[in-house]
């Protein structure tokens, strides 16, 4: 089954926040934000803005009735700055006007006298000065010092990966509408119904029960709408005070300049292998470039730490991870949530090790792949490992060794162009590493006419979670999918929902829905037995919109059954709850069982390098990816393809440039994400056959984030080609822009 929303998307009929018909008199808000990366606010002049055409009000921190705080984990992020600013783009004042244009123009008239203080933009410098969020995290398994002593090959060095702008097409936005009894309804583009609901109530100083938070769908999110609630809370504040509807829609450049990004990382790594190429030890220090507030950075960092060994068995490992507090906008979640960065470290280290050893890196990777019975650094013993299975499925398709040899041969005989390939294995833990978040609930209502409405805490953002839940509900109840409707995600129906993130949207909310549908199924089965005067309910099944006894269809169809059950006073509504079992993680030692299961994959990326111009074209990618038993092949393929390209963008052309004073320089005219011509001409995705997964709903596996890791292949394929040009230089960092490629070759 396809994503249900597509039929509306192609007509432009899908309703996003800015498409909601606004109530009469709806006002528009804009933010005045800091132009200084760090400083003390001595005074603020809002008089000119307040007097500007159409302006209704200008608010500062003094106007906040509740708590001036939107910090997601730590209470370190005021909604509106009080006496200091810590990054460029930090909100200081909120302007409300009759139109969006007027609000944006008036925001330019606010002036602030800010005494500039020294700001830090380098995570290593921040670390040296003790500017970190939380504590330094350390994960140790085995004894790396002793192991290094036994190694034949040891490689160490430093490297870095860059930030990435989410570039969801729908920028941050919300519409807030005051309602009766001092309540307020907020329609927003948000991945976090539960948390944002709480943030709104806290800032307004009212109980959560008085806030209705409603999410229909998002025009993309990729993690960027998970933790930072500023742009949802701000219009709610204005609407609450003014008792008028207020909408806030960020412009593209406001979004690029002031919102968080994927975290850049710095690495100090050291890897050791024996003569046969077995990895014996790996040490890495991860310096995370977190930004001014903690936001969700420590959770991201924890995931990097837990994935530091990638897809490989590493008997002795030491991972040190620090979240460095710098004066840029607080970085946040982005598809992969630290796993791409954690995985990068070991992929890079292995690549360097292969060079020193003079062997084909793909052999080295294959040799060290995880297998059944291996124990990960945090003590989790693995079963049903599909790392080798994915690798070998790919190998059968492309013949990795032959491809490698062909590239080597090509590069011996060509000087104008060079080829490169990279094989990237994926091992991605599924569950929120924060155990408490692994919960979801679902409310399933069967109406007397037989139609069904399902509400969950899952947020639809293009990933097809609503369609997957619809399939699960219909299959469990034994009815056709057309009878099942998914509505908006709404806190009046589903409270305290975890964010739709960590790829778990369908896993958690799908399972809760399955539970609710199973309960309803049982009630209806019992009732059907009674109704049909059949004494054994276990011989009754509901399927194909009908009641069966011992696999024989009866006269009783779904509609009649439901109508009769309602008349017989059977409860046709059911709420169910799911909490992923057996998860735990010690927050100090990082030992535990943080994940329910793992998603695996292997890919081969191929690039052609133009040596003269320093440009490159990806001519092919072959991906084998494990999605368990797919709930929707159409949706899962789309998720794989989209994640791969997004990962390739991060690896190559997506570069954020900052001015020396910490301003993002690369607006929409310079920050370039992949376009249709960037996409490799050959792009083949194989969903791993015969994979099952007892740990998630209907044997499926999560798919949103894991395939992003394949995108690393773009970086490593270019490195491969670059090394064919010259070997006498340090390798450039990620992203590998045409500029870095050119300078490696020609400078």
């Amino acid at each position: 089954m396809k994503n249900n929303d597509m039929n509306m998307h192609v007509r432009g009929a899908s309703i996003f926040v800015d498409d909601i018909v606004t109530p009469e008199g709806c006002l528009h808000a804009a933010l005045y934000t800091s132009r200084v990366a760090r400083g003390i606010i001595h005074s603020l002049d809002i008089s000119k803005a307040a007097a500007a055409p159409g302006v209704v009000a200008v608010y500062t921190h003094r106007d906040i009735p509740g708590l001036n705080q939107v910090g997601h984990v730590s209470k370190d992020q005021p909604l509106l700055a009080v006496d200091k600013v810590e990054y460029i783009g930090q909100p200081i004042a909120l302007i409300v006007a009759q139109t969006r244009r007027q609000a944006l123009l008036a925001a330019k008239l606010v002036t602030a006298d800010i005494e500039q203080l020294e700001a830090v933009f380098d995570p290593r410098v921040a670390f040296e000065r003790g500017m970190i969020h939380g504590q330094k995290s350390i994960l140790v398994k085995g004894d790396t010092s002793a192991a290094f002593a036994k190694c034949k090959y040891i490689v160490q060095g430093t490297q870095s990966t860059g930030p990435q702008e989410h570039f969801y097409f729908e920028t941050q936005r919300a519409l807030a509408i005051p309602e009766e009894h001092g309540t307020i309804k907020v329609c927003a583009s948000s991945q976090s119904p539960g948390a944002f609901h709480r943030h709104i109530a806290e800032v307004l100083g009212i109980p959560q029960s008085k806030v209705e938070f409603d999410i229909r769908r998002l025009g993309g999110a990729f993690g960027g709408k998970e933790s930072t609630a500023v742009w949802v809370v701000a219009p709610a504040l204005a609407a609450f005070i003014l008792k008028k509807p207020v909408k806030l829609v960020l412009t593209r450049n406001e979004d690029i300049f002031t919102t968080g990004k994927r975290h850049a990382y710095e690495y100090d790594y050291k890897i050791g292998l024996d003569a046969e190429g077995n990895i014996l030890a790996y040490e890495v220090i991860l310096y995370q470039h977190a930004g001014a507030c903690a936001d969700i950075s420590i959770a991201v960092l924890t995931r990097s730490l837990l994935h530091a060994s990638g897809s490989y068995r590493v008997p002795n490992i030491s991972v040190t991870a620090v979240s460095c507090r710098t004066n840029i906008p607080p970085n946040n979640a982005f598809r992969g949530f630290g796993v791409p960065q954690g995985t990068f470290g070991i992929e890079y280290a292995i690549t360097k090790a292969a060079e020193i050893m003079g062997v084909d890196v793909t052999l080295l990777k294959h040799k060290n792949l995880l297998r059944d019975g291996d124990t990960l650094p945090y003590g989790m013993k693995l079963e049903k490992v599909n790392a080798i299975k994915c690798w070998e499925t790919l190998d059968k398709q492309v013949n990795i060794a032959q491809r490698y040899a062909e590239v080597e041969k090509y590069n011996m005989t060509h000087t104008d162009t060079k080829r490169g390939i990279a094989v990237i294995p994926v091992c991605f833990g599924i569950s929120f590493a924060q155990t408490a978040l692994n919960q979801a609930s679902s409310l399933v209502n069967i109406y007397v006419d037989g139609s069904v409405a399902v509400s969950t805490g899952a947020v639809e953002m293009g990933q097809g979670v609503n369609t997957k839940i619809q399939i699960i509900a219909a299959n469990t109840l034994g009815i056709s999918t057309e009878k099942v409707r998914l509505g908006t995600t709404n806190t009046l129906r589903i409270p305290n929902a975890s964010p739709t993130s960590a790829s778990t949207g369908a896993d958690l909310n799908g399972m809760a829905t399955k539970f609710a549908c199973e309960e309803l199924y049982t009630r209806l089965k019992k009732f059907a037995a009674k109704h049909l005067n059949h004494n054994n309910p276990d011989e009754i099944t509901l399927r194909d919109n009908a009641v069966y006894i011992n696999n024989k269809k009866t006269e009783l169809d779904w509609e009649k059954l439901v109508a009769a059950a309602q008349w017989a006073r059977i409860d046709l509504s059911c709420h169910a709850f799911y909490a992923t079992p057996n998860l735990h993680l010690d927050p100090k030692t990082f030992i535990g069982r943080p994940f329910a299961y793992y998603s695996y994959g292997t890919s081969l990326t191929s690039v052609i390098l133009d040596v003269r111009r320093g440009t490159y074209v990806f001519d092919g990618i072959d991906v084998v990816h494990d999605v368990g038993q797919t709930l929707s092949e159409a949706i899962d393929r789309g998720q794989v393809e989209g994640a791969v390209i997004q990962g390739m963008g991060w690896s190559t052309i997506e570069q954020i440039r900052y001015s020396s004073d910490g301003r993002v320089l690369t607006g929409v005219n310079a920050y370039k994400i992949p376009d249709i011509k960037f996409c490799p001409s050959h792009f083949k995705v194989t969903l791993l056959p015969n994979s099952d997964n007892p740990y998630a709903v209907c044997n499926s596996k999560a798919v949103g984030e894991p395939p992003f890791i394949h995108g690393l292949g773009a970086y490593f394929a270019i490195l491969h080609a670059l090394r064919a040009v010259r070997k006498d230089k340090e390798l450039p960092s990620l992203p590998l822009t045409p500029e870095k490629v050119f300078m490696y070759i020609h400078s």
């Binding site: 929303d5 969801y168 729908e170 040596v611 003269r612 005219n669 992949p674 249709i676 500029e739």
Partner: protein, 471 residues
């Protein structure tokens, strides 16, 4: 008053002509299928079709509505996603669904419009042309694989209508791409024009406060607020400026000619066949449909692709003064300093004159972070005349992104008479490199641009088949 048709509805409005069409569509007409995602023409989410009456009927182009003022669509037929289908999906929409080419859906209406525009204009339904038509439509979700599949299916389904003799619009109605009401649009536009009471003065520069706007694709990014309130003369509607003529050893290009018209012009391609592919590197389809050669010059960007091409080709400008008299200025004398030109307020570039090549070779090189729809780090063009005995007779090299102006490199006469052997080529490349002083900016470091320019000069010679050593 401005009048035009949106989808199946006549519109008459007295809103400012500098208001952008996207705002009019969403805020005034409440047609929310057209999305705002960048307001700079960089993403394609707001793509609409603009149908303009021309002597042989109506011609539709896909354009970015976020930088298209409503004054510029006076008398036109605007098609948004809502105007494409009735109860059933049109062919493009159906194929997008069948190929799963939509995820979050925010970019999807723009993709539907660009592909529908392709159906209206493609001569052969070649798949590569369909992809070119989508080069301005960015999608953050799908990774494009499914969008390509939809485009491929579309070409296969529609290829047969190339032979349809009844005209493209009836053929597309039959093929389920367009709704029936498209047939009546030309007549309705004519009726609209005739009942319009005000004289057509909007394209004339009536006073010095008037801002002449050609494509507007950069102006409406840079100064949307000023232009909203301004009195604008829309040059795109002046038929006297919209021509491409060959003759008198030159090509004469009117200043209303768009990059896309130039790129596809048989006259241009007869003399400069590489323009077809060279200009694919210029912005994107939905921008090239509005952006003009003259606008790209007047914009005076030091890295403007069209300026760089025309400098190497030795083009000159015909500029009309306030008094109606014209003067000729070689393009290389036009750029004086950063965004400073030999041009005063009230003047108008009427024409661009390009000398026709005779035994010359031409090549354009551009390197940008992303290959398409991106501004160059460095661009350069070379125009060279090599005699039968392999000696340089004439050599013009332009370079962008390396100076405050689009630069024509001086002092190359010393290479005249030399053979194009590797040493000479290298010497030329070094001379060019040493004549420029780029700066560090968001397109790259000064050092990068300098070294890149040298390699791109050598790449010109590569392209001409004059072999070089790699380094």
């Amino acid at each position: 008053m401005l009048s035009f048709i949106i989808n199946n509805k006549e519109i008459c409005t007295d809103l400012p002509s500098g208001m952008v069409l996207l705002d009019f569509i969403r805020e005034e007409q409440h047609l929310t299928g057209t999305k705002e995602a960048c307001r700079e023409g960089e993403c394609g989410a707001c793509t609409v079709l603009v149908g303009t009456m021309c002597p042989d009927g109506i011609s539709y182009k896909a354009c970015a509505s976020c930088i298209l003022p409503i004054g510029d669509v006076k008398g036109c037929h605007i098609v948004t996603v809502e105007g494409l289908s009735g109860d059933t999906l049109n062919t493009v929409q159906r194929l997008i669904v069948e190929n799963n080419a939509s995820q979050c859906g925010f970019c999807t209406p723009g993709i539907v419009l660009s592909l529908t525009g392709f159906c209206l204009t493609s001569e052969t339904f070649a798949y590569e042309d369909a992809i070119d038509a989508l080069d301005g439509n960015i999608c953050r979700c799908t990774g494009y694989v499914s969008i390509r599949s939809a485009a491929r299916c579309l070409c296969e389904e529609l290829r047969h209508i190339c032979d349809n003799k009844n005209g493209r619009i009836p053929a597309l109605i039959e093929a389920g791409v367009l709704p029936r009401y498209f047939l009546d649009i030309p007549a309705r536009l004519k009726a609209l024009a005739s009942c319009s009471v005000s004289a057509d003065t909007s394209s004339k520069c009536s006073n010095s406060n008037t801002v002449p706007v050609a494509g507007g694709t950069d102006l409406f990014v840079q100064k949307p607020e000023e232009l909203r309130a301004a009195h604008i003369a829309f040059l795109s509607r002046r038929s006297d400026l919209n021509y491409i003529r060959a003759g008198d050893a030159s090509l004469f290009i009117g200043s209303a000619v768009t990059i896309e018209e130039f790129r596809n012009s048989p006259e241009v391609l007869r003399y400069f066949p590489s323009m077809k592919s060279d200009l694919l590197r210029h912005s994107s389809h939905i921008l090239r449909n509005k952006a003009t050669l003259a606008g790209n010059i007047i914009n005076a960007s030091p890295v403007g692709d069209m300026s760089i091409i025309l400098l190497a080709l030795g083009a000159r400008l015909v500029i009309e003064g306030k008094d109606g008299k014209t003067r000729n200025t070689p393009l290389e004398e036009f750029f004086l300093g950063y965004k400073k030109m030999a041009y005063s307020c009230g003047e108008l570039v009427r024409e661009i004159v390009i000398p026709l090549p005779s035994n010359t070779l031409f090549n354009f090189e551009k390197v940008s972070n992303r290959e398409t729809l991106d501004i160059a780090a460095v661009n350069t063009a070379m125009h060279i005349n090599i005699s039968a005995d392999d000696k340089i007779v004439d050599l013009r090299i332009s370079a962008g992104g390396v100076a405050p102006i689009p630069l024509l490199v001086r002092g190359l006469e010393k290479f005249y008479g030399l053979k194009t052997v590797p040493d000479t080529c290298l010497a030329i490349a070094d001379t060019v490199m040493n004549s420029v002083t780029p700066i560090d900016d968001i397109r790259g470091s000064a050092e990068y641009k300098k070294l890149l320019l040298k390699q791109l000069i050598l790449a010109h010679f590569d392209t001409f088949g004059i072999r070089q050593v790699t380094k």
